[in-house]
Symmetry: C2
Amino acid sequence: MAMANKVIPVALGRELADLLLRNCKIVDVVTQTIYESNIVIKDGLIAGIGDYTEAKEVIDAPGAYGTPGFINAHLHVESSMAIPENYCVEELAWGVTTLITDPHEIANVAGVKGIKYMLEAGNSMPINYYVQLPSCVPSTPFENAGAVMKTKDLLPCMDWNGVLGLAEMMNVPGVLMQDTEVMQKLNVFRSEKRPIDGHAPCITGKELQAYASQGIMTDHESISWEEAKEKLRAGMAILVREGSATKNLKTILQGVLREHIATSRLGFCTDDKHLADIHKEGTVRAMVLQAEKLGMEPLQALAMATINPARIYGLSHLGEIAPGKQADLVVWDDLTTLNPLRVFYKGIDALAKMTEVRVHHIPGALQNTVHLEDFIADDLVMEYKKGVKYPVINMLPGQIFTKYAEIDGGDVKKQIETGKLCYIAVLERHHATGNIGKGLLSGYGLQNGAAATTVAHDSHNLIVTGTNAEDMAVAAAELQEVGGGYTLVQNKHVLQTLPLDVAGLMSSMDSAALTQKLNSIINMAHEIGVDDGVDPFVSLSFMALPVIPEIKITDMGMFDVRKFEFVK
Amino acid sequence: MAMANKVIPVALGRELADLLLRNCKIVDVVTQTIYESNIVIKDGLIAGIGDYTEAKEVIDAPGAYGTPGFINAHLHVESSMAIPENYCVEELAWGVTTLITDPHEIANVAGVKGIKYMLEAGNSMPINYYVQLPSCVPSTPFENAGAVMKTKDLLPCMDWNGVLGLAEMMNVPGVLMQDTEVMQKLNVFRSEKRPIDGHAPCITGKELQAYASQGIMTDHESISWEEAKEKLRAGMAILVREGSATKNLKTILQGVLREHIATSRLGFCTDDKHLADIHKEGTVRAMVLQAEKLGMEPLQALAMATINPARIYGLSHLGEIAPGKQADLVVWDDLTTLNPLRVFYKGIDALAKMTEVRVHHIPGALQNTVHLEDFIADDLVMEYKKGVKYPVINMLPGQIFTKYAEIDGGDVKKQIETGKLCYIAVLERHHATGNIGKGLLSGYGLQNGAAATTVAHDSHNLIVTGTNAEDMAVAAAELQEVGGGYTLVQNKHVLQTLPLDVAGLMSSMDSAALTQKLNSIINMAHEIGVDDGVDPFVSLSFMALPVIPEIKITDMGMFDVRKFEFVK
């Protein structure tokens, strides 16, 4: 707002604007009305709307609709496997000008350094790239991550440009039991009136009341309308989520429409959406269209895409077309097709500017994050004895939830030979501690060889699964060599590798190359047997997340989530 | 929120609440739905809503409706002539638990000391008493007030408990011309993200765009729906006003309903409402009922009374019934009658607590604010010469707008003798400068005697009008003697005086006594001739406001508002 005074003479029509958007159907998300007028822009701000006829640059937009830039209210850029610059390109192309990101994944690998990199890379783009500071690193005490972030580690980040508040508080038990560190984090952000995001899947009743009482403002985990309604009544804003895997929009908005609920505390978010899916249809834009198809008034859906999240996060300079607001505007062909004709960020044509995208400096520390203690093949597989029962992770198609199974040690070899079972190991990869968790995996389908990934929620250690220790060792060594990524190995030869050179999570390749490489390695994984219903690497990456039942594996061993303890 | 952690065990049902409100129909202003449940309160906060059955104190409310406490979003307590404590009693009695006040009047008399007194007196009551810092003291350069408040004077007040932001920016020309002092005030409050109130009567088009571009957030001056809609589209919140004199609710809300406008940026305010009117029907409560009668959904009107202004002013702890929010609740008999059964402020029964009201200390400096230079009767009336034209303020019934008239000096005496004209004088009363503006007033009706007031918008000098200089001098001397107020004089004898012992604006009498005294002096004024259509003292008090056309008088002389200059 430092430039606000230069806006006055432009608003008064006494000085020329930088840009005039003429004859546009303006979508006013505040009154939820549409009116035809002209918008003048000065120094990145909207100077006025009205009877303006001249400017240094004039764009005629007769018949087109102008809305505020869209806001994707909660997402993890890392999940796209693209670096922030390339991720932003895909979002901007579909009219998103504001991202509220949680760099939770990279924080688990590289702590504050990782957060800083994401923020700076995002801020180099023509987009509002906001960061909520990860609240739960590591996610659980049952694994070793690359960093531990306590309140004292978050404090210096709070004043960085672009940092808003505290990211999703996943440690619900910690809140309810008043864990000292959790309470301290909440107190610090609450006392500064910073936004605090929630994460309360299936939490209801008194537990929800206790959780919400702590000033936790939002939730994006509701999978039913009843759950969402209870959270709204508990004072939480609901960020309706439609990611690649988790799709909650239909059930929630059908409830909203059925019960005629006021929607000012509803926004849209993706949480995790694949780059190829974003490229195809966008994020918030696809959600607005889906809401319209369910019968929601376009203006109501557009408010959810713009002003609602702006208000929820206290971004009073964003989300509406009004004098003094930041000139983030999208010109669309029509509200029922939502093809963006122009996307402006601070009054600059962001789509035109993106032809000049430069990749921000990637710190060396983030390019070399796979640190394994020396190991041999035999370290990755334990000895299975006949007459002893061993736990098995039974992977289910399209689920991150698993079933607990058991096998007699004497049957392991035969089951592996017939392609019904694999070995699985998680190698601590951040500090070369030599920690290796070992176990068995069924339902994956690999027939001969190994698959490995350094994307391994949430601590992002190295997961390798395979039919023999030698191929597994080659796969692990390959990922150490390339600095992380996905790899497939057969008969001690690397079949294909997708290097994820930034923190072992993201690739600095451009989106097209990344998507092509990704499709290629996925196809090859299926060729060597990975079950058709299983996403070869995404499914694998969730086998190390020890908060989702029934059984998982971390660098500390096989973990029975039902009992919340390691299998002895 | 410091006590938040004590809330968790109560929310979880593990510890007893201070209070349980049982079987209440809860009005959720967020989803705009009603549901029956139970509310538990701990340490002044709502701990939870749900299946709670026990507490230290239990109140059963079957059939009754619970809403958040109402918010009166803009008002001047001084206009009620009651001190803050007595004003709050009347508001609380009708379910208002939050006031957003602008101590503009007392600031014109006593500057920072006056603001501090109002804030402390208000904060001694069971109500959220917020202050917006007066932005325009004095209101114009055409008069001498008791104080001049520049940015540097406001800065120390910004961190006082209860101070929100900057009060109505009335200096619209100052904004448009980028007056240095005005820009500085706006910049200071905007850079701290403090709320800034507007005041832009009849400002439209490019001027409105320029004004709104400066982060001026609200307006309460709209008198037509078109004006309100244009301001909403310019990003301003509209505080729909229904005071004793200025009634804008019907026209604005009829427009809202006709055009199906989204209402999240609408709130209710009174600006100036007489104590007796508040006593009879309340403020916001009367507006909600009126909105309902116009056909607005009760839940939509209730959102305007609660959550909307809370959001507009960033009061995230107020305005809704949800865990962690301040326990400001009203239990009503029914939503279409709105008789309050209980009013809770921070979980305490505010109505019960008010039997113990103690008047806060009134600083001596505020009790002795009428400082006149020595004067004689002849100083109050100028010499009128035959053949010379003199300007006359022609007062219009029920208007603060006046007509400019002229009279030949030779006709003055006769017109006064026949009761068609009065002398009028404004005596600077703050710093005994001896400034006296002198002129003529028609349309008031006084037949013989004088009337005087130290309530004189906005600088609150001493206005005296009368049919002879001697009675006028007695009236002025009487108000100096009692420390300000209203008085009536006839034949050199004081007929009746209403002392306004606090700053010459407010009385420390209780509401009933004040109302009775006020009615009595008004009746007597009419008895000695004041026109039936004229409010004897309120109308008089606006004769010194030099921003309302066509002609006014200040301590500096007769002012032609059409030309924006003193009459030569």
